[in-house]
Symmetry: C2
Subunit: 207 residues, 2 copies
């Protein structure tokens, strides 16, 4: 075996294994041993790359956030009409709903981490405050442009609308994860919401 390996790649491989275990059996079932088995490496190797469990868990969270950010950016970039606010927001909805397996996994594990952060001060801070805030600002910008372009009514409060979109998508996503709603029903709720946002006849418009 060669002497030098790509640490970042090994760490990503192990972090992915953690996410898989967490998605399948819950974050509480994540142990160093379980992650090692899932990654197909020895227990010691997990220790070698993340020397404590807290470090592993924390690193996996950052890994997850980076991945989701990239997926969202890629989806935005792949839009055929990036100028259309409706298209952007529909992409946002599609991305945030646990539709495909990747989305389901991400939402589930992310929510698990969020719950963990509610009682563990070492985990809170950045990811669950900074991340959503950034997303919310992004949504606010999209909405502001749409309002300026007359796509949505002039009397809408764009930052409130952004908060509503973010919270609502998170809420319906959760309802899908617990089995209360199907993905189709969730999509329907979000479609209704967007329809209400854009189709507002009789409301005042910009220019």
């Amino acid at each position: 075996m060669p002497k030098r390996v790509d640490h970042a790649q090994r760490r990503a491989h192990i972090a992915d294994a953690l996410v898989r275990v967490a998605a399948r059996e819950g974050l509480h079932a994540v142990t160093m041993r379980a992650v090692a088995v899932e990654a197909g490496v020895s227990l010691n190797l997990v220790q070698y790359y993340f020397d404590t469990k807290a470090g592993l868990v924390h690193a996996a969270l950052e890994h997850l956030e980076r991945q989701s950010h990239e997926r969202w950016a890629a989806r935005l970039a792949g839009l055929e009409d990036p100028g259309s606010a409706r298209a952007c927001l529909e992409a946002f909805v599609a991305e945030s709903l646990p539709a495909d397996e990747a989305g389901h996994t991400f939402r589930l594990v992310w929510t698990s981490y969020a719950v963990l952060a509610m009682t563990d001060p070492a985990l809170a801070g950045q990811p669950f405050v900074e991340g959503p805030h950034r997303l919310e600002r992004q949504l606010t910008e999209i909405l502001a442009k749409a309002r300026a372009a007359g796509e949505i009514a002039a009397d809408r409060d764009v930052s409130a609308e952004a908060a509503r979109l973010l919270s609502l998508s998170h809420g319906v996503g959760t309802s899908v994860l617990v089995g209360q709603r199907s993905v189709a029903e969730a999509r329907e709720v979000m479609r209704y919401h967007l329809d209400r946002l854009f189709d507002d006849p009789g409301a005042p418009r910009a220019p």
Copy 2:
């Protein structure tokens, strides 16, 4: 000490202790010993009343659901104008946001259980499907009456509105719990939502 005690009361006492531990340190920190200490009883007593840990956890969930149901019913009953849909929905919002300590505790522990149920089939089923569905039906009824009374526009889809309300309130509640938003900001988002629901000038009305 007397021979016969009120089992239901003892069980409630211990279940409350579990909820307190879960709210303070997270559901993952709930152990038989921790619950026993919190309740001020011996480990064996916890075993005596709920003979397995799964039983304890399950019973505490039912306890939590019953409590929340009672609180919500009491709030509805305490309304000065129970006929006003806006008042009902505002009561619903107030009840579902983690405003006071009880609400915070309930939301946090409830969400923890929800996350647990996402991977544990033994816990899913009833509480997280039946409960929300019942609430959603209740909201739908309130909205349908409001629409019939002309309080909200005739072109609103009441069941979609109910789903939106429920999911949105859950979403903003979560954002408060993770520290992304203050309770005041959450209330502001919900107020905006209700304003949009009720103030819809120019929209068609029922008789």
